[in-house]
Amino acid sequence: MGRTGPDVVRDVCFAVPAGEMLGLVGESGSGKTTVALALLGHTRRGLRITGGQVLLDGTDLLTLSPGELRAVRGARVSYVPQDPSSALNPALRVGTQIREVLRAHDTEAGDRVAEVMREVDLDSTPEMLRRYPHQLSGGQQQRVALAMAFACRPSLIVLDEPTTGLDVSTQRHVLETVRDLCRSYGVAAVYVSHDLAVVSGLVSEVAVMYAGRVVEIGSTARLFGDPVHPYTRGLIGAVPSPERAEMLTGIDGQQPRPGRRGAGCSFAARCGFAVAACSTQAPEPVIAAGRTVRCLRALDIQVTQAERVPVLASPPATPGDSALSIRGVTASYGSTQVLSGIGLDVPPRTCVAIVGESGSGKTTLARCVAGLHSNWTGEIIFQGIPLARGARQRDKDVLRRIQYIFQNPYTSLNPRKTIGQIIDQQLSELSGLSRRERSVRMASVLEDVSLSGDFLSSYPDQLSGGERQRVAIARALAVEPELLICDEVTSALDVSVQATIVELLRRIQRERHLAMIFITHNLALVRSIAQSAVVLRHGEIAEAGPVEQILGHPADPYTQRLMEDVPKLLHSARP
């Protein structure tokens, strides 16, 4: 093993029998995509495979010449990428792209194109084959990518988070197709995902990766039912459930980067079970409770099980004046109408979740309230006063009282400003505080979001995604808003970070008696944070009411379908 630089991924070892699926899970930066690509004998730029074997039916792919590797890829090993819209060539017709794969591997092209299209539940009509990728929906694009991957009947297929950008219903159908195809053609599959709930319902074996190593590997039922490695426990504890309102417990701290992983266990610094030996002695794989675990304390801790704390019943929505009421709001982008006649109320001290699939208009609604989107008609009444259309027409006091937290913390903070400058700017624009009062306020608001004062002089790119989102929350809280709008604030974050952010928002909402609008596509999050929910569909309200009623006994068929399609963590040992 000739090592030339820090190992990105080390000692990864697993086997997948034909017809079975292995799930490779972990947070971003854990090395799961690196492993997935290495299965095809490929590395991203700057990386090198320095040791090991990838055996496919007895052949080591890593010893093949580039020409041989080309012949194997697509034919015997294939890959389904994360984002089909960038993986398909936008200039080629769908039929041409599939035919290309078949031709490249000398398969009789003609009829097979129609056949592989049918296998992934796509029409094989000439019109469909003549379409360009941009004329297909995201789900259809991913099906085309699947068709190309299965076209030559490979022995191994590597799927790299293939459903990340898809709606829950589309995701479910795509996953069913994948499972059926793998079973019926005896294809071994490796499914890379950060979404434990998706993996739990799909694969038979799971490998959990952390800091470039597999920390726990075993059958899905064992691993999710009774996780041993503290990291696996943490991950499972962070997954929200659509069925029960529970405290989400995140994992504090950050994954060490390659080259900065110490001598001992990489997880020791974040681990609740760590003992002194953990930080000096690298754990070797041991068998505990029927699976392989890389943890020094595996045998001691396998019996202790974490308990989940249910969320205290939230105070019911207080009747009376609404903090915000939306009356007959209709909004358009250009000539396309995206919201029609929306009416809803946000009672004071209440969190209302707005859920819906992409394109349902949930973000547009939030942007209308915030003043970021001004092409709307109807009435939005905030504490008895109708709001002006756009932010430019609103006075500073209204802007201060309604705060908006953006989806992507990577773009919502100016990279050229320090955290201190970012928060101070908000205060100097929107509050009449003196310089000294502002610095007092900054210190207290950072404390509220559990960040130390050292962050004030850092720049956003020195922060992790979760820390950035905390800064964005601190910026909003600094001016003491009365309505907080959270637009998919956790969708860019890992599940363990998502858990801490949701907990933070819930605590703040209750402590400060805020009215809050929480926009999400993830129904599972709703119970953990909101008291009432609104389901949007194609710019109209499908159903609205208290969370218990909407998630527990959905009346509208659309909500029922959404609830059914939400991936749920199976096998999990919950009361």
């Binding site: 000692d11 700057g46 390659p258 970021l372 100016n414 990279p415």
Partner: protein
């Protein structure tokens, strides 16, 4: 299975903190390309700046025969009127440089303001600004400058102004597209939600994120300024004889090219070295800046691997 990142001995550009444009400049200097460019540029600038103080003879004094060969007394020989070529070369750079710097600054400031405003304000402002830009762009730069000069007469400030104005449209185009990308990001919307006026949003939020394209554009425009101003001097629009000027020198001495080529080659070489140096350095800067100015999530990924 083990996958490793190779050890890199060169400090990767991506490690540079994105917010410190000074450090981008510094890493550009440390690349071979950047070092060569900087050395060439500094050499010519040095000649132009300290030249007047070290010149052995007055630049306008008639001292010897026309087009005399280089000798121990006159190292680069003499020119069309028997003046010392070395002294004229040493004296002839600083006006050119000052004019080029002013013209570039003018073009960058005007062009950037127009481009940023067009991209951020959109709508009618975008249309009006960019159509005006298209009209100026329709004239070749040299022709545009000549047109202004022949209307108003060859004055040094007018030449500077004309060259600056002829740069503005190109700068505006580049900065407009850079701004379109930046103004889509959420931190700009966050500033709008603070009730910030558009002018302040552009100045405080957008401009700091455009430092890299601005620097690259400044380097490129500087090169063109030198070429156009020297070209105009060659055509007779510039410092009038007998004042020493590299462009004027090339023009007045070209008939004696066979007798004393140094009278033409020396000023031409200095102009060439300056433009090549500026261009090389700008290119090095641009390469470093592209690596650094990726979207932050990509930068983080690269840092993870590197």
């Amino acid at each position: 299975m083990t996958v490793s990142a190779p050890v890199s001995h060169r400090r990767p550009a991506q490690r540079v903190r994105r917010h410190q444009s000074g450090s981008v400049l510094w890493s550009a200097v440390r690349t071979p390309r950047g070092a060569i460019g900087l050395v060439l540029t500094l050499f010519v600038v040095l000649v132009a700046v300290i030249g007047p103080f070290v010149a052995p003879n007055p630049p306008v004094a008639l001292l010897t025969v026309d087009f005399g060969k280089p000798s121990a007394q006159f190292w680069l020989g003499s020119d069309v009127l028997g003046r010392d070529v070395l002294s004229r070369v040493l004296n002839g750079g600083w006006t050119l440089l000052i004019m080029a710097v002013c013209a570039t600054a003018l073009g960058i400031i005007g062009g950037a303001a127009a481009g940023i405003a067009a991209a951020y304000l959109r709508g009618a402002s975008d249309g009006i600004i960019m159509r005006a830009v298209d009209v100026i762009l329709a004239f070749p730069q040299l022709v545009f400058a000549l047109l202004l000069l022949s209307l108003l007469g060859p004055k040094l400030w007018l030449i500077t102004l004309a060259v600056g104005v002829s740069h503005a449209p190109q700068v505006a185009r580049v900065l407009r597209s850079a701004t379109l990308d930046v103004s889509e990001r959420d931190f700009v919307k966050a500033a709008e939600l603070q009730g910030m006026r558009p002018a302040k949003v552009m100045r405080k939020e957008i401009l700091p994120n455009l430092v890299s394209p601005l620097m690259v554009e400044a380097g490129l425009r500087m090169t063109y300024s030198i070429l156009i101003i020297a070209g105009l001097a060659f055509l007779g629009f510039g410092p009038q004889p007998p004042a020493a000027n590299w462009g004027v020198m090339i023009n007045e001495n070209r008939e004696g090219l066979a007798l004393n080529p140094w009278a033409v080659v020396a000023p031409a070489l200095l102009i060439a070295l300056l433009t090549i140096g500026m261009n090389t350095f700008t290119d090095a800067f641009a390469r470093v800046a592209i690596g650094v100015d990726r979207r932050p999530e990509q930068a983080a990924l690269i840092e993870d691997i590197a």
